[in-house]
Structure formats: C-alpha cells, structure tokens
C-alpha cells in the first residue's frame, strides 16, 4: 500500500504552502485522482488522517474526485472513455491511442485555508467496517 507515501506527500506540500502563506489551518483539500493512477481513495483517506496528525493540516477534510480515463485518436479525431481495464486502441479504427487525455492525474487541485478568526471545524470521517 503506497497510499501512505502519497498521503505524506500531500500533507508535506500543503504544509509548505500553509507556511509560506501564514495560514493557521486547513479547512479542506481537493484531490483529482485518475482512475489509472493506481490509487485507492479509501486507503488514501485513511492514511491522510494519520499523516496530518500533529500538523497544520490536521482536521482538514480530504475531498477526492475520480477522473475517468479518456484517450484520443488523432486520425479519427475521436476521444473515448478507456474504461477499466482500459482500452488504448481506438474503437473507430483500431489504431493505438495517440495520448491519454485524462486518467493518470494525482493532483492537489484546491486547498481551502481555515479562517484565522474562527476556529476551523474538524471534519472526521467515520470509517465503516466495510471500507
């Protein structure tokens, strides 16, 4: 499970950004996670809770947005959803996709800083037995 490494990387980056901006806390972090990034969102959320303990990020809500994989065939001028398992062959002509337009993102999209004048609320996710 490499999600712990990823969670630490997220916390480190947000912590550095908070420091440079003088932010007192973090309300939420939005992540884009491509369906081909090889990341389990639940595992990442679990690790995130552990990784941000004792940092300025503690208590922040982690919002992950799954980005579907899409590919492009230049000759056919066609884009298609690659699906899972992905199909990188053009459904129109059978040729190799020229590029994957989306689906491998692992990106911090937006951070919402906590307001200095009001103590930011702690968002806790209940982890059900199923997850």
């Amino acid at each position: 499970m490499h999600e712990m490494s990823l969670a630490v990387a997220v916390v480190d980056q947000v912590e550095a950004a908070a420091k440079s901006r003088g932010a007192v806390g973090v309300s939420s972090i939005e992540l884009d996670v491509g369906e081909l990034a090889g990341v389990v969102a639940d595992a990442l959320a679990f690790c995130f809770e552990l990784a941000c303990a004792g940092t300025v990020v503690e208590g922040a809500e982690l919002i992950t947005r799954t980005v579907p994989g899409t590919a492009r065939c230049a000759p056919c001028a066609e884009d298609w959803a690659v699906g899972m398992p992905p199909r990188l062959l053009c459904p129109g002509c059978g040729a190799a996709a020229d590029e994957l337009i989306s689906g491998r993102e692992l990106q911090i999209r937006e951070v919402r800083w906590a307001c200095p004048e009001t103590p930011h609320e702690r968002h806790r996710r209940t982890i059900t037995e199923e997850s």
Partner: protein, 231 residues
C-alpha cells in the same frame, strides 16, 4: 469566507523532480537506468543474474540495485554474476522512490557503469507511479501468472517500454495462452514489444541487455500511449 487556493500541484512532484535530477546526472556521466517491475516470484532475479553475467562477458559496465522488504538474498544471487550489486532494504515500503535510489548510489556506483539495473520491489501496483530516473521501464510476467495479468494491473503494463514473459519453458504445463497475453498487453499498451524468455533453456536471454544497450546508445524507445498523458 475562507480563501481557496488553486494549488494545482502533482502529489508526486517531489519524486518527479528527484527522478529528473537523477536521470540528468546519470546520463551526463554515461549511465542509463533500467527499472524492472514485476510480481514477486516472476523470475526477475534469475533473468537479471543471467543478463548481468552476459554484460560482464561482453565487457559492458553493468551494476544492479535490488530492492526487497527483507533479506539480502537477491543481492547475493546477483553478485554471482560478478558485477557490482547493492541491496536496498525498504523496511516494509512496497516500492522504491527516486530519492532512495539516489541515496544508495552515492559513494557506491562505479564510474564505469553504463547500465544500472534497478530491480524494484516485487509488486505490480505501487511501483508503477514512481519514476526512478530510468530511461527504460521493463515489466516482467511469468507464464504461471495468467494471461490476464496486463488487464489486472493496467497501469504497470500500460507504462512499460518493454514486456518480458518469463519461464516460458513451463508454458505448456501452465496452459499459458500467448496470443491472449499479447492481445491483453496491446489493449493497455499498443505497440510495446513483448519478449519471450526462459533462463532454463536460454530462450530470449540477452534481449534485455540488447534493448538496454540500444537505449543507452540513444536509439528510440517505445513511448506508451498511457505515458503520453495530457493528464
């Protein structure tokens, strides 16, 4: 109203930067890195030992970094080839990262190293997202693992620049369907070369070394569609 900041940063930016520095530095001194990924038990070490031995016989300066959660068994096995070998113990970490590689190369990697083979932790999930500064990424799968492996681990196979099938001497016993395997590889990574190998009967042995040398000499290397990401 709290301020929102559009951070737009890749989570793995730190690793990407470390990998870029490592690749630049090593290429400048004439060293090319080959990153080997596979499941545990696919025969990575056995094939690599043969390739390293061959490199020694041909006078190609090769070295190997091998990563495991525990034991130095693989380093001992690879050292029999006669080339410089170093074991990385990851203490439970399921993958290698660029800074770990850089740290282990410090004060160890011989100047004459032309090819540095990095045997990643046996795992087809976690290592896939980590660039180690390699110029060639190779994914291996043994005939006993099933021909649907590329579909089960699409990111690992989708980013491979060379795929090697190992243990082909057992293909019949394992009822390995080569046609299906090739089709599955092409589905996630159109155009990537698939090489059949067996260290027991010698089939395909030397191909990895040849391909690595070709990359080191600046010949073109397959660019997977998945790596051409606008993402």
């Amino acid at each position: 109203m709290c301020r929102a900041v559009d951070l737009q940063r890749a989570v793995l930016a730190k690793n990407e930067a470390a990998a870029h520095i490592l690749r630049t530095e090593l290429n400048a001194r004439g060293t090319t890195v080959i990153n080997l990924l596979s499941s545990p038990g696919s025969g990575k070490t056995a094939l690599l030992e043969r390739e390293l031995r061959l490199a020694g016989e041909r006078g190609v300066g090769a070295a190997a970094l091998t990563a495991d959660l525990a034991t130095e068994n693989d380093a001992r096995r690879l050292a029999r080839s006669g080339v410089p070998v170093k074991q990385v113990l990851t203490d439970g970490l399921c993958h290698l990262e660029a800074d770990m590689v850089a740290r282990h190369l410090h004060d160890w990697l011989p100047e004459s190293t032309r090819l540095l083979f990095v045997e990643n932790v046996g795992n087809l999930v976690c290592p896939a997202g980590y660039d180690l500064g390699e110029s060639l990424r190779v994914v291996l799968a043994s005939v006993t693992e099933g021909e649907d492996k590329p579909l089960k681990y699409p990111t690992a196979f989708g980013l491979a620049q060379l795929v090697i099938v190992t243990k082909t001497d057992m293909a019949e016993a394992a009822e390995f369907d080569e046609t299906a395997f090739r089709a599955n590889v092409q589905q996630v990574n159109p155009g990537v070369e698939v090489v059949l190998s067996s260290v027991r009967d010698g089939r395909g042995v030397g191909t990895l070394l040849d391909r690595a040398l070709a990359v080191a000499e600046g010949n073109g290397v397959h660019t997977p569609a998945m790596a051409q990401a606008g993402a």
